[in-house]
Every structure is written in structure tokens, then in C-alpha cells.
């Protein structure tokens, strides 16, 4: 292996690792706040990339309909819960937000094809369609189970992942899509050829990770999230609504997943089930970070990306084996050094 190959591999590893880091951090975020191991994190990557691809192709993405259906279900559950206790004004607001907004978005996505407003309009609409799926998903599936054990939440998460992947097949079909690159420029650094897209990926990942840091350290909402992560009951006692924390965490996770999908869709082909594998590699990072530490997760995910690049060069047949084997010594070390704590709340 000469230095040129080495540099190419490092570049490839860093770009992939940046995406894994984003997903890993989102997993840690969701887990600390809601105790859900968010397996469907990867599905948001696929939904983001494929929604964008559908908009580019001038079609109305299935996610627009999904959002409306989920909004109706969530509003129904909310109204049923509040029946006879909340004033009509509150009920009307629920209806407007949960059903009105998705209806508006659906109308825009039905209208948009044929009126192509360019890439940035498509990106904005993709965000608007995919991000709300996160919080609404939390309200439908996890909020009623907020006090269940981690195992129950995990199994629900697996079920949701299967459902989302299946719906992805219905919405987007079995074939893969690529989207337009943000910018086709590429730079030559010595023998290395760096595409603008890979710079986008790394830069966005770095910015987002930095942004999350500021969010948790400096903003009231971020601090509220941290409080509910540290102690749910304590947070509730001092007046932090934990369901709001849950919704925010899921919204952020959906945003990160959707953004990752938009970033990688121009450089690789996205399928309805692409997200699972990508999410799983983020999960390795998150597990190495103990599902609690953001910096360790980000660094570990970067290492997973690099390891993947090098093992695909050295022993491509065993690539996945090598990556997933990394987790075993980490788990051993963690369980030997940390006293086992029963998960009870």
C-alpha cells in the first residue's frame, strides 16, 4: 500500500465515518432522553434521500401521505385522551397542527412537480416532510409506553424499523436512486481528488456536532433535554415536561437522519433498506460510547468509517465481520470495568 492509496482510504473513511458519527450521536441523544435504542434511525436516512430523489424526479413522495396518515392517528389519540377535559380551543389547535400542517405539505408536494423550484426548494420540502415523522412517531408509538422497560422500547423500535422499511419499499420501489450533487466541483490536492460533496459531508457533520454541543450547553431546551436524560422523575419534578423532551429528541434524530440521507444520496445509491446498515454502523459508535457519551461516540464512529475503508481494501470479503467484531472487546471491557446497574426507574 503506497501513500496515495493510504490517503484515498483515509478520505473515504473520514467521509463515511462523518455520516456514522452523525447517526451515532443521534442514537445517543434519543437513548439518553427516552431510553429508546432508536433502530429506525437508519430508515430516516433512506426516507430523506429517497424523498429528495422523488422530488427531483418530479413525483410526489409517499412520505407526504405517510405524514398525513400519522398526523391523523396522532391527533385522534390526543383528542381521545383529552376528551371532555380540554377546552375546544386546544382541540382545534391540535387538529390544525396535526392534520392541517401535513395537508398543507401534501398540497405543496402535489403541486411542486412540474413547477421545479430548484434544488434548495426540494431540500427544504424534504426536511419539512421527513423531520415531523420523528416527533409524531414518538407520540404514536413511544409516549404511551414512556414508562416501559428498555427491552420493550427496543422491541417496539425494531418493529417500527421493519414497518418503515416495508413502507419505504411501497413508497419508493425496490430500485435505488441517486440525487444531484450539491456542487460538481472537485479539488486536487497532490494525487488526491477531493469532491466538493465529500467536503460538504464532513463540514456539515462537524457543524452539526458543534451545533449540538452549543444546543446542550447554552439553550434552555437543550438543558431541559439533558435534565430529562439524567433523571426523568427529577426533571418532571422541576417542571420539565418529559414528553416534550421526547418529541424534541425524536425531531432532532429525524433531522440528523434526513440530513445524512441528503448528504450521501449524491455519492452512493440509496435503496429503501440502505438505512439499516448505515444506522447499524452508527450504532456501533454509539455502543462504544456507552450510549451516553457524545464525543466518544463521534470519535468511535469515525474509527468505524476508517476501519471499514481499510478492511475493504485489505480483506473485502470479511469487511462486515471485521467491523462488527470490534464491538465484542468493547462490550467485554465495559462489562468488566463497570459495575452492572439494573435498569429500573
Amino acid at each position: 500500500m503506497d501513500s496515495t492509496i493510504l490517503m484515498f482510504l483515509v478520505q473515504d473513511g473520514v467521509v463515511n465515518g462523518a455520516v456514522y458519527a452523525l447517526l451515532g450521536v443521534a442514537l445517543v441523544l434519543v437513548f439518553t432522553v427516552t431510553r429508546v435504542v432508536f433502530i429506525p434511525q437508519g430508515a430516516f436516512v433512506a426516507y430523506g434521500g429517497l424523498t429528495m430523489a422523488a422530488l427531483e424526479a418530479g413525483r410526489t413522495p409517499g412520505t407526504a401521505w405517510l405524514l398525513l396518515v400519522m398526523g391523523v392517528v396522532a391527533a385522534g389519540m390526543e383528542l381521545l385522551r383529552r376528551w371532555g377535559t380540554s377546552p375546544p380551543r386546544v382541540m382545534a389547535r391540535i387538529l390544525a397542527v396535526d392534520i392541517g400542517v401535513p395537508c398543507g405539505l401534501l398540497a405543496v408536494s402535489l403541486w411542486l412537480p412540474g413547477h421545479g423550484l430548484g434544488q434548495w426548494a426540494n431540500i427544504l420540502l424534504t426536511f419539512a416532510l421527513v423531520i415531523p415523522i420523528g416527533p409524531v412517531l414518538y407520540r404514536i408509538a413511544f409516549q404511551p409506553l414512556a414508562d416501559a422497560s428498555v427491552l420493550v422500547l427496543f422491541i417496539v423500535a425494531v418493529g417500527i424499523d421493519l414497518t418503515m422499511t416495508g413502507l419505504g419499499l411501497v413508497f419508493f420501489g425496490p430500485e435505488g436512486y441517486r440525487t444531484e450533487v450539491f456542487s460538481a466541483v472537485s479539488f486536487s490536492v497532490g494525487p488526491l481528488n477531493i469532491s466538493a460533496q465529500s467536503i460538504w459531508i464532513v463540514a456539515m457533520a462537524a457543524m452539526l456536532l458543534g451545533g449540538l454541543f452549543v444546543f446542550f450547553e447554552r439553550t434552555l431546551l437543550g438543558k431541559a433535554l439533558r435534565a430529562s436524560a439524567v433523571n426523568r422523575r427529577g426533571a418532571r419534578l422541576v417542571g420539565i415536561p418529559t414528553s416534550l423532551s421526547g418529541r424534541t429528541a425524536f425531531g432532532l434524530a429525524a433531522f440528523i437522519g434526513c440530513l445524512s440521507g441528503l448528504l450521501i444520496a449524491p455519492v452512493t445509491t440509496i435503496y429503501f433498506d440502505t438505512g439499516f446498515m448505515v444506522g447499524l454502523k452508527g450504532l456501533i459508535g454509539a455502543i462504544i460510547g456507552g450510549l451516553i457519551s457524545y464525543p466518544v461516540t463521534a470519535v468511535a464512529a469515525l474509527v468505524v468509517g476508517l476501519l471499514e475503508a481499510f478492511s475493504s481494501f485489505e480483506a473485502s470479503a470479511f469487511k462486515e465481520v471485521i467491523i462488527f467484531t470490534v464491538i465484542i472487546p468493547v462490550l467485554l471491557w465495559r462489562s468488566l470495568t463497570r459495575p452492572h446497574i439494573e435498569d429500573e426507574e
Binding site: 484515498f8 473515504d12 435505488g176 452512493t268 445509491t269 439499516f276 446498515m277 475503508a309 475493504s312 481494501f313
Partner: protein, 384 residues
């Protein structure tokens, strides 16, 4: 019991008996296809093809029953057993990929039901032993398609090839053929790399291939995932020929690949370029007819592997009239006669070549089932 009720029961009994009798006379063909899951891009056009199959064979009504196995071997077996025991099908067809197909061999042998294997893998029908007596296949085996590629490489004067293929039955099946075919023609395999369908990057593998400085690269992958190695090779400045296999024969491959797959050379069944075949070619008219029916019904481009499903029924049709003399559909006598008739049917022209099945060879396709195709200006072009 009142008289009215007695009458009603009689009518009901008569009605159900009548319906049963009518249904018993129908020929039943049961499918287990991978309509969801990782092989959905193969399974969906195949399922669509079932929708345009003839409603009658030899003057007999045919009922087609399609079940989904999601590419999973457990589900394909459950489907096959359901089709055989509950629906009493005469013919089983499936599945879309090799892993869920192999266990169907046991179901077919055990229950004495005809199985038309719907995958390229030659080990589904070879050797013809007690287990495979009931199994036929009218899809080109890897050897047939690999030989066409190897011959093309030899003619082009290629001396070394870099191989990158799926880490699964598809990639390994082809590799095992090329392992002997290429050295026989004086071509060395300079590097062998693997990748997975879900991979988002193959940079490492491609760098390894390029380090071996091959005259050409052979990509063995199915559907749009085969684009990724080609795109990465182009990004890294590889300008020699990229060979692919019949697995890429879908319009989606060209859509996703765009200009990066221009000039790709691969071997495929003749249906892919039916219109460009010489007029005397037996597959020309049949292939064009299939494409017309498919595209009229679904308004989407056909996929070559959908035509296998059409071929299977065309192939069975020839054996139905003699089998009907031996027994009514749904009976073991009918199935046994159908099986025997398939072995002695002689040459059957299909969209994918000409099958000549004998008691010793349950595949029976020859070189007429493979043509070389090049991608030019985003379209399939027959290489003479």
C-alpha cells in the same frame, strides 16, 4: 329440520360441489417470489409478468397463485408447502434468488410436484438425481453466460482481469465459473474483491483492483448496486472496459448509472435486445411479444428476468396436452405425465434462447441463450 333448510343445504352442497369440480379441472401454478426484501427488484417484474400470462393452456383454464417469500428460505418453504397441500398446485415456480430456491427442491421431490427453478444457479437441476427428477429450469446457468463473457474478453485480447463481485451466492457462483474459464483462455484474474449489496462505498476494493493494473474489470452484481463499482472505477480514472453480468439487465441500472456505465459490456438473454436480433433468431418474435405485453400492461420498461416467468409457462404449455390425456389437473397422474412430457418435448423456443430438455439435462439451453450486449447512449446494443 324444516324443509326449507333441507333444500338450502342441498343447494349449498351442490353449489360447493360444482365449484370444487370446476376448480379441480383448472391447472394450478403456484409461485413463491421475492416480491419484498433485498431481491424485490427481481421479484417485482416477475410478479408483474404473472399478471400477463395466458388465462388458458391447451383449452384448460389456468389459475396462478403468487405468494411472497421476501427472499427468505424459511418463508419460501412455507409458501411451497401451502401451495402444494392447500392449493394442490400442479406446478411450483420459484424463487427469485438462489437461497430461497434450494429448499424447494426437497418439497418438490417429497410431494411429487413439478418445480420450475426461477434462478440461474445450475445446481438446482444438475445433476439430475432422485431429488432433482422433478426440477426443471429454463434460465441460463452461470457457465453459459460466463463463457460468452470469457470468449469476448479473449477476442478483445485481454490478458488480466480484476474481479469484484457480490459476497453471496451470485458473486461466488460466477467466480467459480470464471476461475476455470478465464485461465483456459490465457486470461489471469489479477485481483478478486467482494462487496455487499448494501455497501455505500467500494473505494477500498476499487483501489485494490487498480493497484493490480488489470486490462479490464469484471463486476458481478445484480441490479442497481452494480453501478457503485463502475462509478467508483470511473472516479478513479479507470478508462478500460468494464464487464458486467446479466444481473444488470434493467432500465434502472442505466438510469442510476448514467454516463458512468456507458460502454459497459455484458452477456444476457436474447430478450433484452429482441428487436435487434436477426430475423431468423427463434427468440426474436417471442421476446418482442413479451416486451409488448409487459409494457402495455404496466407502462414501465420490462426487465429481462421478468421474461423467465413467461418462458416457464411457455415451456410447460407444450407438455400440457399430452399430460391431460393421462389425468385431470390436480392428480398425481397428471403431474407425472406432465413431468415425463417435459423431458421428451424436443426444442422449445423461448424469449431466453431455445430449450431442449432431455432426461439427462433439465436445463437444455445452449449458446443461443446468451448474447453480448454493450450500453451505448443509454440503450442496450447487441454486439454481433
Amino acid at each position: 329440520m324444516s324443509r326449507n333448510m333441507a333444500v338450502m343445504v342441498t343447494i349449498l352442497a351442490a353449489a360447493t360441489w360444482g365449484a370444487d369440480a370446476a376448480r379441480a379441472a383448472d391447472i394450478k401454478i403456484g409461485y413463491t417470489l421475492s416480491i419484498t426484501g433485498p431481491a424485490a427488484s427481481l421479484g417485482v417484474p416477475q410478479k408483474n409478468t404473472v399478471g400477463i400470462l395466458p388465462a388458458e393452456i391447451g383449452g384448460h383454464k389456468v389459475r396462478y397463485i403468487v405468494l411472497d417469500d421476501g427472499g427468505d428460505a424459511t418463508r419460501s418453504v412455507a409458501n411451497a408447502r401451502k401451495l402444494v397441500t392447500e392449493e394442490k398446485v400442479d406446478v411450483l415456480i420459484g424463487s427469485s434468488i438462489t437461497p430461497p430456491t434450494m429448499p424447494l427442491l426437497d418439497v418438490a421431490a417429497e410431494t411429487g410436484t413439478l418445480l420450475i427453478a426461477n434462478v440461474p444457479a445450475q445446481r438446482t437441476v444438475s445433476p439430475v438425481d432422485d431429488k432433482r427428477r422433478w426440477v426443471f429450469k429454463v434460465i441460463q446457468g452461470e457457465a453459459l453466460l460466463a463463457r460468452a463473457i470469457a470468449d469476448h474478453m479473449a477476442k478483445a485480447g485481454i490478458k488480466s482481469v480484476g474481479f469484484i463481485g457480490f459476497n453471496d451466492a451470485y458473486g461466488e457462483g460466477y467466480y467459480n465459473e470464471f476461475k476455470t474459464l478465464l485461465p483456459e483462455r490465457g486470461i489471469a484474474i489479477a485481483a478478486k474483491e467482494g462487496f455487499a449489496r448494501a455497501d455505500t462505498s467500494v473505494t477500498g476494493q476499487v483501489l485494490k483492483l487498480l493497484a493490480a493494473k488489470p486490462d479490464a474489470v469484471l463486476v458481478v452484481a445484480a441490479g442497481t448496486p452494480a453501478v457503485l463499482p463502475a462509478k467508483t472505477l470511473k472516479e478513479r480514472g479507470f478508462d478500460k472496459t468494464i464487464y458486467q453480468t446479466a444481473g444488470i439487465a434493467t432500465q434502472d441500472f442505466i438510469r442510476v448509472g448514467g454516463k458512468d456505465v456507458e460502454g459497459t459490456v455484458f452477456s444476457a438473454g436474447p430478450v433484452l435486445v429482441a428487436e435487434q436480433l436477426p430475423a431468423h433468431n427463434a427468440s426474436r418474435a417471442i421476446g418482442m411479444d413479451y416486451i409488448k405485453r409487459y409494457e402495455e400492461a404496466y407502462k414501465t420498461p420490462f426487465a429481462a428476468f421478468g421474461a423467465h416467468v413467461d418462458d416457464a409457462v411457455r415451456f410447460i404449455s407444450r407438455a400440457v396436452p399430452p399430460a391431460l390425456k393421462a389425468g385431470t389437473p390436480g392428480t398425481p397422474a397428471f403431474r407425472a405425465a406432465l413431468r415425463d412430457a417435459l423431458e421428451t418435448g424436443g426444442e422449445v423456443p423461448l424469449a431466453h434462447g431455445v430449450a431442449n430438455i432431455t432426461a439427462k439435462d433439465h436445463n437444455g439451453l445452449d449458446d443461443r441463450a446468451a448474447v453480448m450486449v454493450r450500453i451505448e447512449n443509454g440503450a442496450w446494443k447487441l454486439v454481433p
